[in-house]
Symmetry: C2
Subunit: 405 residues, 2 copies
């Protein structure tokens, strides 16, 4: 017997037929002798509908009331899944965020889970009743409804698995696992049987949208074994686990791409101490999330060029922040290019193998793809290239690292 948390996303909750399908999967786990808690998202599209109401009521809706409105979507699916389970002969009941409670910070619309009191739920599960918990929602220290931010149900599931000391947290989604890269670009991409938390985190941070980043961070911290698998077909999915659990480590786990950044170059910046802080301080104050940064060698004596990337949606904001600082910094020019892509290779094997980055640079150079910026972490190398080369670069690297099926 194992204790399992199962999480179903919005597409798995889109309508009663699909909810019945999810109930069926839960029933099978119960039939295998497992104790099961289920975490559900709202029906696909429902959170958008509710967010739309709030925005229509006020573009600057009070976040506490926004949470009251948007948390209702998961309450509906939690009740419906409990009904569907009962109809199939499986005892089940819902546990709402305030009932357990799921204690969170008071940062409405982006609250953090502080703890989940699972005593009553665990007793009910031990007595043979499936527990159904709406994801995304919690309760603040002063007793008001909170939500965790978009995609927060993954985090709810991992937090519940940690609190219940569950043997596994199964995330049912519309893909059947984590792939070495996007199969739409590389048909020969392989599904990974296992991946480490750190690799999953790095892949999520560079655009692979399988799991919410915070849920992976939490799983890593709490050592929750997470499995990503499909709601719509059977298959083992991908297990996200600690590095120790992976016996034969591959050099590279995957290749990811991100087309959501834009490049800005501030030219003719006076080459004096503090000037970089003068550029990035005001951007941080404007909540612009600067990613890659490259400071070029000065071509003109006493000046330098600074190139960096920002989210494409914040390009206009960034340019207006920079325009205001023209006199105080004394730069010569600002140029920008939204048509860039960040390509990343991720793998814990990098730690013990030299030459991983060189393979990347060489493979891209062989195809005439120019690298505009580079960043590295312990287990990731990312390069910025012209957007039009995205698919080519992904395919070339997938082959270069021997990932093709």
């Amino acid at each position: 017997m194992a204790r399992i948390v199962m999480k179903f996303g919005g597409t798995s909750m889109a309508g009663i037929e699909r909810i019945r399908g999810a109930a069926d999967r839960v029933r099978r786990e119960v039939a295998n002798g497992n104790e099961v808690a289920v975490v559900v998202s709202a029906m696909a599209g429902e959170t958008d509908r509710l967010v739309g109401f709030c925005r229509e009521a006020s573009p600057l809706a009070d976040r506490a009331e926004y949470d009251v409105v948007v948390a209702s979507g998961e309450q509906v699916t939690a009740g419906l899944l409990a009904i569907a389970l009962q109809a199939a002969g499986t005892p089940a009941r819902s546990w709402l965020g305030w009932q357990l409670p799921v204690s969170t910070s008071d940062a409405h619309a982006s609250a953090r889970i502080k703890g989940i009191d699972t005593d009553a739920m665990a007793a009910s599960m031990a007595a043979g009743t499936v527990a159904v918990m709406p994801g995304f929602q919690g309760i603040s220290p002063d007793g008001r409804v909170t939500t965790l931010g978009r995609g927060g149900s993954d985090t709810s599931a991992v937090a519940l698995a940690a609190a219940l000391k569950a043997d596994r947290c199964d995330i049912y989604t519309d893909v059947d696992g984590v792939y070495t890269t996007d199969p739409r670009i590389v048909p020969r991409a392989r599904k990974l049987a296992m991946i480490t938390y750190e690799e999953m985190l790095e892949l999520a941070s560079v655009g692979a949208k399988v799991l919410q980043t915070r849920s992976v961070e939490l799983a890593m911290k709490e050592k929750v074994r997470v499995r990503v698998l499909s709601s719509f077909n059977d298959g083992p999915g991908t297990l996200v686990v600690d590095e120790d659990e992976i016996v034969e480590q591959e050099l590279i786990a995957g290749v990811a791409y991100n087309r959501n950044e834009a490049k800005i170059t501030v030219g003719g910046v006076p080459d004096r101490p503090g000037v970089v802080a003068a550029i990035f301080g005001p951007l941080a104050e404007a909540n612009v999330n600067v990613d890659m940064i490259v400071q070029n060698i000065a071509y003109v004596a006493g000046t330098t060029d600074v190139t960096f990337t920002v989210p494409r949606t914040e390009l206009t904001l960034s340019e207006s922040v920079l325009a205001k600082m023209k006199d105080s910094i004394g730069y010569a020019s600002v140029t920008s290019d939204p048509a860039v892509a960040k390509i990343s290779v991720v793998g814990v094997g990098m730690r013990s193998h030299a030459g991983v980055a060189v393979t990347m640079f060489k493979a891209l150079a062989d195809r005439g793809i120019n690298i505009q910026a580079i960043t590295t972490s312990e287990i990731k190398v990312s390069v910025l290239i012209a957007e039009e080369y995205t698919e080519l670069a992904v395919r070339v690297l997938h082959t270069a690292y021997g990932l093709d099926a």
Copy 2:
């Protein structure tokens, strides 16, 4: 300064534009120096949508989980109205059923309010914040979500007004008050400035769907002054109050009709003690709500006919219950007629005036309308007639009692 509870129905919450309209009415009461609590229904159609999901998931959905699902509709509008009020510069916050709490019985889907803890809400109102409470919902003794049954938000509003010792409970709806009869049948129907609780109750029980019956019972018990008025145009509406408050009492407050009953006649029933109990006992056990009952004089020595009405939706059920009892009772025949209508005149003035019923019988007889059954209460006379005469009977009685504008 007064303390006022305002209640908005589903049509007043149907979309953000209407919610803004409701916020506008609230704002005006606040501007008049009043402390305001608001009770809201779900958006028109939303409860039906949620009930539909539950039925689709299971025709016999667990009522506790049904309540989890359907209570969400009012949570959404409570949050949205609070947002709309804030956007208009009026401080406001929502108070959900479990937050106050609104304590109810554990009869899920038809719970009764036992009490509302308004301490925190009243303090917040005194500090200038409008309180917004979702109607229809509460919390059971074991901490689960309950709902009050369809139309329960009127009862929520009256219960909140009683708990807050409010000066008035204003029910905003899609009609502009209580009329002497249905204006679609009698264009010269008059809007009543005032009506007593008891008259309102009797009118509600015979088909005038302005207020939920339970809300009127509660208002009468708790002496809550209720006002019925329109969300969509200005006007004083109708005040529902204690009899003492009405100085000049009319003889008849209104004429109502109900086409939802069907007539059953059990013929040739042995005329012996206990036979009537033998008929109505099993019907009561089958939850059939028998209304009017007439026992005719025996035409054949030793036998009698029993005629009664049941809700039209329960006619088939009633007939099958009666069929099972044919041998044990030994009746000769069962005949039924769904094409009947119950016409009622209601007024507390009846108590002190003789001849009210005679006026009714005479007016109907003058038009050749045959009376099939009669029931009376202290302040109501109802007759059963052929359905095709419904409109004619209503018009004739409206004139006969001098109600025409």
